[in-house]
């Protein structure tokens, strides 16, 4: 099997500008204006901004579908302008919104495009293509021999991603890759792609005009404003906590606080211990324990520590075994990967103060409360700091 992990490259925009219509006419407004960004290897950098602000143009200058008017783009420190065009492009994965799948080729042939250009053997291409289809969640036995017209929009996007990954490129360019599918499919594709990226650790430039997608997908986010300028470059948390300008503040939206919640997960909280009592154990003991605590409820669980429901300690008999019939319907369940935003939403929806955190087996790990989430928001530092090698926006040219 081909190794799919561990190859990534740094991408650096060094004072890059692009003017359409010939560089001679200095009067034409720039589509991209003096762009300097430094993207560390293995990170997702999202380019986000309103329509026409130069995101696609910036992206296409990396694989030189568009040549910059001035400035340099360095891939692992090497100027892209000096590299042979087809060799450069075969080493960069490219995914576009309309997928651009070849209608006359089957799914497996589409995925094998770049390996074929690189002259791999037929057997190796086929093996790799099928491996990748599996990786993006398409059963090769079912999908290999289909034509793109026989796929749903979401399936086409997956094939598009698989095709871009085929030759294990260190860099991926993705231009609104999930833009053409409905919100539910988009969310699933995003989640799956993030999971994939955990393994692959590619350097990814990801274009979107959806700020929520940017915050979700990006390790780093560059907010563009019209005229091809970067208004702010930083982690999603930085963007939300301290927008650099009115434009950025407006662009990220008035619900910044809530969006910040989406960046933290239940795992980031110090959970309350749950006052559990196993079904069949002594009711009197549970009653005494519950009444002694400030929170006078006891969480009834089965022998595997899975929650069955809450019992008000005051209603418990002085003796006898705890039975399942005593338990009231429980609070909402969350797990450690649930974002605080979703957890809060679940709590508000079910009109309770307490959510139960369970692990993969359904066993209780602790409790999360609305207060804990509110407290977390007040603390300000809502997200784990991402590793950013260079200060935002500063080109880290090794030659300097």
């Amino acid at each position: 099997m081909e190794s799919s992990a561990g190859r990534a490259a740094t991408v650096e925009f060094d004072q890059v500008s692009k003017r359409y219509g010939g560089s001679a006419k200095a009067g034409t407004p720039a589509a991209v204006n003096d762009l300097s960004l430094s993207i560390p290897a293995g990170r997702i950098c999202v380019l986000v901004g309103p329509s026409g602000c130069g995101k696609t143009t910036s992206l296409k200058m990396v694989n030189r579908l568009i040549e910059p008017t001035s400035g340099r783009i360095l891939l692992d420190g090497v100027d892209a302008a000096g590299r042979e065009l087809t060799e450069l492009r075969r080493g960069i994965g490219y995914v576009i919104q309309q997928t651009g799948l070849f209608p006359h080729q089957t799914v497996v042939e589409n995925v094998g495009t770049v390996p074929r250009l690189l002259g791999w053997s037929g057997a190796r291409i086929r093996e790799r293509s099928e491996e990748l289809l599996g990786l993006v969640g398409l059963d090769p036995a079912k999908y290999s021999r289909r034509f793109p017209s026989q796929l749903s929009g979401g399936e086409r996007q997956r094939v598009g991603v698989a095709r871009a990954l085929a030759a294990d490129p260190p860099i991926m360019l993705m231009d609104e890759p999930f833009g053409a599918v409905d919100p539910i499919v988009r969310e699933r594709l995003q989640d799956e792609f993030l999971r994939l990226q955990e393994e692959l650790a590619k350097t990814i430039l990801f274009v979107t005009h959806d700020i929520d997608e940017a915050i979700k997908m990006g390790d780093l986010v560059a907010v563009f404003e019209i005229g091809g300028k970067v208004a702010q470059f930083g982690t999603p948390a930085e963007l939300l906590a301290s927008p650099a300008s009115d434009f950025v503040a407006r662009f990220v939206g008035t619900d910044r606080g809530l969006k910040r919640l989406a960046l933290s997960r239940v795992a980031d909280l110090t959970l309350h211990a749950a006052p559990t009592a196993v079904v069949g154990s002594d009711a009197g003991e549970a009653r005494r324990r519950g009444l002694a605590a400030s929170f006078q409820f006891v969480l009834l669980t089965d022998p595997a520590n899975r929650p069955l429901g809450w019992i008000d300690a005051a209603t418990l008999p002085e003796s006898g075994p705890l039975t399942e019939a005593l338990a009231n319907p429980t609070s909402p369940f969350v797990n450690k990967r649930t974002t605080l935003k979703d957890a809060l939403s679940l709590l508000l929806d079910s009109d309770v103060q307490v959510g139960i955190v369970t692990d993969r087996t359904g066993a209780v790990q602790g409790l999360v409360t609305v207060d804990m989430i509110a407290e977390r928001m007040r603390e300000g530092h809502i997200a784990p700091a991402y590793l950013v090698d260079a200060p935002p926006g500063a080109p880290a040219d090794p030659a300097e």
Binding site: Q98, G100, Q150
Partner: protein, 224 residues
Amino acid sequence: MLPGQQLIDFSWIGDHLGQIAERIGQHLELTILPVAIGFLIALVLSIWAVRQPIVYGPITAVTGVLYTIPSLAAFAVLIPITGLSLVSALIPLVSYTLLILVRSIVAGFRGVAPEVLEAAEGMGYTRTQRLIRVEFPLAVPMMIAGLRLATVTAIGLATVASIIGGDTFGGLGQLITEGLQTFFPTKYLLGAALSVVLAVSADVLFVQIERWITPWARAPGSAG
């Protein structure tokens, strides 16, 4: 038709199967050669027109003029130059296919979705690789549509070429001419009927070829 003569003399047909087969062979030659030569020329012109859109206008103008020249006039002009040769017959026949073929081939190339071209370029196809592996196959359905029309047209026009071809390569047109000259309906009716059969068979053949080489175009909702 002479008095007392049957409209169709089947025994004559039975006695002359060899000659009839030979005329069919000649007619196929008068069809396949011009369509094949026309296709090659049209393909080159079309690729040129797709790469340099400015030449598309002049190309269709010239091929359009060629298309309007009456075939008899063309033969009359050519006979003093190239004589009663196959070349004299082929030149007009080829030039009639050009307009149809150039239009459909160019439409085929232009119909390739821009995002497909961009994806191909972005993944590192060279221009030639992209032309051969992406643009050409995707233009095939339109090319075949053009070839169908050009072939059926050529089969019809080839009957006129008997003026030049005579006995040597006159095809079904020669059967018709001889039949008319000798007041023998069997011959000219047979010539006409066979050219219709040829045209219909060619049409069916192309439909089959298209189904066979473009399985992807048969898939439902093939637009995407």
